[in-house]
Structure formats: structure tokens, C-alpha cells
């Protein structure tokens, strides 16, 4: 008996250690971001929010769930539809709760891991924090993040998903935002004809090739490859809309030099992301090109033949595997 006691203690210690390990060590299945080797490293710090399968699944569920809005009518996907490059198709300005109209065109959600700021004026400094803006906006979801978290805590389904994603069933603001960011980070568009040409798998037509040349000479300074944006803020010569009176970046920096500067949008999937510009004032790509075609301020001069060729190139930025990726669509 005396000999068995230490063994018994050792056994209990082992069981105790195992239990501690089992509850504190938590390994959700990792799902590292996939992107072409030639691309730069993402700006997003994945060490603080590593992509995991359950984390992305939770983010996707939240992205499509109107629970984020005050009266459960508006989800992220209302203004960011997967089939139209995550923009609000055919809406110059998006409508949110109670059909209230905002002041800006819903941007395409593409290659967000490389973005350093968010919104047309760069109001948001980190992808994690972006969702707070539409959730709290009185013309979008008109809800408080505190209330969203309370609603999620009452849902058994979400408790299970939070447990799988974070090893803890309790929803918090941090976890909710990180999960949404995880899903949004997966929205990588890297398989357009342009990408396949660069990878040597396809070739441009002569017209597309000429368009590409024109693009590099006239547009690439701001719409830089491979993301077709430099993620910066530029003045593109559009006069201010007298009804909206939106002066862009200046509202954030309070620097007069930033008046009428807006975030350079990506041109990827531009075929589907109409209408265009920060306030959606142009319904057709042709109108955008007409705006730039004789622009002394930007030093751009395009003939009508060149506009046709440039358009042919821009259409090679359509990525159907992105647009119709079942992993991005409504979760079923």
C-alpha cells in the first residue's frame, strides 16, 4: 500500500496535467492565405490573428448575417455582393437600414490583406476595425457593437462557432472583429486573364497588349500592379458634388492639401464593380475613361482608339474564379 501511493499521486498528476493541456492548448485547423509568389508580403499582421478554418467560417457567417444591424435587416453582403466583386451593384450610393442612403459608393472588397487603410477617406486604420464603421453608421446598420456581441452571446449556434474559432464560446468585440477580418482577408483575386498572362499561361490579344501599354503609361502610377491600386489617396480631378459636399481625406487629416483626395480603388474586376468613383457618379466604364482622356492635371491624353484598347485591357482584370468562388458566397 505504501508503495502504491506515490504511483497513485504520479497518476493523478499526469491526469491533471493532461486536463490542463487539453483545455489550454487549442489548435484550430490553420488556413494560411494563398497568393501568387511574385506578390509582396501582406500588410496585415497575421501573427495577431492567424487564419484558421473555423475562424474564416465564423467570419463568413457574420458577414452574411443581418444580426449585425439594429433591426436585423442589413448584413455586410447587402452592399458587398460576392458576385459583383463585393460591391453594391447598380447603386451609386448604397442604402442601409430603413432605406437610408449613404454618401459614398460601396467599394470592392479585394486583396484587403495588402491594404494599409480602409474607407474612401482612410478613416479606418486596420482591417479588424473596419466593420465598426458600418455597424455604427446611422445610414448603414445603426447598431452598437456592444449590442451585437450581446445578441451573439444569446445564440447557441454562434457560441459553438466562437468556441471552434477561438477556444472560448464567449463572443467579444475583439473576436467578432477578428473573425470578420479573417473572412475578408481570404477575398484574394489573383486569377484574372492578366494574372494568367503574367504567369505565362495565356497571351494578350494585340488590342489588350496595347491597352496594357497605355495603362502602364497613364494609369499605373496610382493603380499600381499587382493590386491595381497603390492603396494611397489621390485627387482625380472630379469636381465636388454640391449635394454631398464630400471632401474626402481632408475630413480625417484636417490638412487642406488633402481636400478632394480619395482612396485609389482597385481596378480588379472593374467590369463588375460599376458604378464608379467614390460617389458612384459614373455608370459606365466609358464615362470614367472620358473623364481621364483629356486630363491636363494628371497629364493624360487618350484618343478614342486608345480608350477602346485600354478598355480591352481592363476587361482582362475580371477574375471569374473570384467572382464565383463558392467559399465566398452565402454559407449554406
Amino acid at each position: 500500500m505504501r508503495n502504491k501511493l506515490p504511483i497513485a499521486i504520479a497518476f493523478f498528476c499526469a491526469v491533471y496535467c493532461f486536463c490542463v493541456a487539453a483545455t489550454s492548448v487549442f489548435f484550430p485547423e490553420p488556413a494560411p492565405l494563398e497568393y501568387p509568389e511574385t506578390w509582396p508580403f501582406p500588410a496585415y499582421d497575421f501573427s495577431k490573428n492567424p487564419l484558421t478554418k473555423p475562424g474564416i467560417a465564423l467570419g463568413r457567417q457574420l458577414f452574411y448575417d443581418p444580426v449585425l444591424s439594429k433591426d436585423s435587416t442589413i448584413s455586410c453582403s447587402n452592399c458587398h455582393l460576392s458576385y459583383t466583386a463585393f460591391t453594391h451593384v447598380d447603386h451609386a450610393l448604397s442604402h442601409g437600414i430603413h432605406d437610408r442612403i449613404g454618401t459614398r459608393n460601396s467599394p470592392a472588397l479585394t486583396n484587403l490583406a495588402w491594404a494599409r487603410s480602409f474607407m474612401w477617406d482612410g478613416a479606418v486604420n486596420h482591417l479588424d476595425m473596419q466593420a465598426l464603421a458600418p455597424i455604427s453608421s446611422p445610414v448603414e446598420m445603426e447598431e452598437k457593437i456592444e449590442n451585437v456581441v450581446e445578441k451573439l452571446r444569446r445564440s447557441a449556434g454562434y457560441r459553438a462557432m466562437f468556441f471552434q474559432a477561438f477556444g472560448d464560446s464567449l463572443a467579444t468585440g475583439e473576436r467578432l472583429l477578428k473573425a470578420l477580418a479573417q473572412f475578408e482577408l481570404t477575398l484574394v483575386s489573383a486569377n484574372s486573364k492578366y494574372d494568367r498572362v503574367l504567369a505565362g499561361k495565356e497571351i494578350f490579344t494585340d488590342q489588350e497588349q496595347n491597352g496594357y501599354r497605355l495603362f502602364k503609361n497613364n494609369c499605373a502610377r496610382c493603380h499600381s500592379e499587382p493590386f491595381f491600386t497603390n492603396y494611397g489617396f489621390e485627387k482625380n480631378g472630379l469636381p465636388v458634388d454640391t449635394a454631398l459636399r464630400d471632401f474626402g481625406r481632408m475630413a480625417i487629416t484636417r490638412q487642406p492639401a488633402d481636400s478632394l483626395k480619395f482612396k485609389v480603388p482597385t481596378l480588379r474586376n472593374i467590369e463588375f464593380s460599376y458604378p464608379y468613383m467614390h460617389d458612384g457618379r459614373f455608370r459606365k466604364l466609358g464615362e470614367v475613361l472620358n473623364h481621364y482622356a483629356h486630363n491636363k492635371e494628371l497629364g493624360i491624353e487618350l484618343t478614342s482608339n486608345e480608350k477602346v484598347d485600354l478598355t480591352a485591357f481592363l476587361l482582362t482584370l475580371t477574375d471569374r474564379t473570384f467572382l464565383f468562388n463558392p467559399d465566398f458566397a452565402f454559407p449554406r
Binding site: 501511493l5 506515490p6 499582421d45 486604420n125 486596420h126 465598426l132 464603421a133 456592444e146 467579444t172 468585440g173
Partner: protein
């Protein structure tokens, strides 16, 4: 032999379990909001010396980066040092540094607010969770110091004033360093003399600050003078 081993094991486990608790005492920093030297409570009009009837219904602020010094040398600093103090929740008005903190020190430094790195680090938890009502959704960054209430001198509707002071980008940074020389070691009472904040308010010019900018930066600079060790 096994009994002796067992006794030693039990002794070792006991020491491990209780040692941290007896090693050193807790250090408690208790923050007491005041108005002209008198303790105040929420929604209770402090008798201002200038006859102004003023009451506060919200006082919430971050204190961060606590560092303890002895003779000008750093002796201990708190890890992940972020505390949200909220007058509505009495427990948050006292910060307890658990065992492991320095046992000899004569100065405590901290920041009013959050540092710039915290403001650009994405979603954070605990006191920094954005559900705490201290984060600006439409101009990313933490509200470092929030004070709201009523003053009969405030020309806003309902005499309501709202000062949300934050901003981390130059030139309008708002985090402020405080240096407190201390003699007490265990229970340290820090007065937060709010009248000094209002001495810098011209009600005609400012009664609402809700975004980063020159006014927020100016008011932030007045905050360190609010904090001082309670004189018996």
C-alpha cells in the same frame, strides 16, 4: 523511503501554491475624482468655487504603461499595462498591482490614454475591447479620456457638455505622461482634480469635442495636472 518522498512532494507543492501570495504585498492605486478638493460622485453637482452648478454623468479614461522607479532607476513595469477606469464601476477606479511588483519604489510613471502602437494594432481584448465605448469607429483610434455632464454655463442644448479626447496621429497626439512621486507603498490614493480641467474650458468656444484635432490635443495637455497624490 516513499513516505519521505511523499512528504517532500507535498511540501514542495504547498510551497509552490502559496509562495507567490506571501512573497510581497499588493500595491493599490486608488483614483478619486474630486472637485476643488471634495470627493464627487456621478450626477451629483459639485459645488464649484465659481458658483457654477456642474455635474458629471460620465467619466471614463485609460491609464497605461505603469512603470515604477527608485532613485530615478526603473525597478518594475507592468506587462500589457492597460486599464480603463470608469466612475460608474467603482472596482475599476482602483488598480491593483499583484505580487511581483517592486517592493521599493519612490515614483510611478504612467500614460493617460493609449500609446500610438495600440491605436494601430487592430482588434484588442480586455479593457481595450471596442465594446467598451471608447473607440471611434469613423476615425480609427481610442478615446483616451471621456467626460460628459451638465453645466449651467454650457450653451449647448440641455447644458450638456461632451469631451471625448483622443487622437494618436501627429501633430494631434493626446496620450500624456504623468510622473507621481510617492512615499506610501501599499495603498496609494491619487486625486483626480477635475476642476482643473474645466479651468481650461471656455464654454463659448468648446463644449463638444468628439474627434482628434487641435482642440483635443490642447485639452489633453491639461490632463496630467489633474493627477496628484492625495495630501492627508
Amino acid at each position: 523511503m516513499p513516505t519521505r518522498l511523499l512528504r517532500m512532494l507535498v511540501l514542495a507543492v504547498t510551497i509552490c501554491l502559496f509562495a507567490p501570495a506571501v512573497q510581497s504585498q499588493n500595491i493599490t492605486l486608488h483614483f478619486q475624482p474630486e472637485f476643488y478638493g471634495k470627493n464627487i460622485a456621478l450626477e451629483q453637482g459639485p459645488a464649484g468655487n465659481n458658483g457654477d452648478s456642474l455635474s458629471i454623468h460620465t467619466l471614463r479614461f485609460y491609464l497605461s504603461h505603469f512603470v515604477f522607479y527608485k532613485n530615478g532607476k526603473e525597478v518594475w513595469q507592468e506587462k500589457d499595462s492597460y486599464h480603463l477606469l470608469d466612475m460608474e464601476d467603482k472596482n475599476t477606479m482602483a488598480i491593483v498591482f499583484k505580487s511581483g511588483a517592486a517592493d521599493d519604489f519612490d515614483q510611478i510613471n504612467f500614460l493617460i490614454g493609449t500609446d500610438s502602437l495600440t491605436n494601430v494594432s487592430g482588434a484588442l481584448g480586455g479593457d481595450l475591447d471596442p465594446t467598451k465605448g471608447m473607440y471611434w469607429a469613423w476615425n480609427s483610434g481610442y478615446i483616451n479620456f471621456k467626460i460628459e455632464g451638465f453645466s449651467e454655463n454650457c450653451p449647448a442644448p440641455g447644458n450638456l457638455f461632451q469631451f471625448h479626447i483622443g487622437g494618436y496621429l501627429p501633430p494631434y497626439q493626446t496620450a500624456q505622461a504623468v510622473v507621481l512621486p510617492v512615499s506610501e507603498k501599499n495603498m496609494i490614493r491619487v486625486d483626480v482634480e477635475l476642476s482643473r480641467f474645466f479651468e481650461n474650458i471656455d464654454w463659448k468656444d468648446a463644449h463638444n469635442v468628439m474627434s482628434p484635432g487641435a482642440e483635443a490635443a490642447r485639452l489633453a495637455k491639461t490632463l496630467p495636472a489633474l493627477f496628484h497624490i492625495h495630501a492627508e
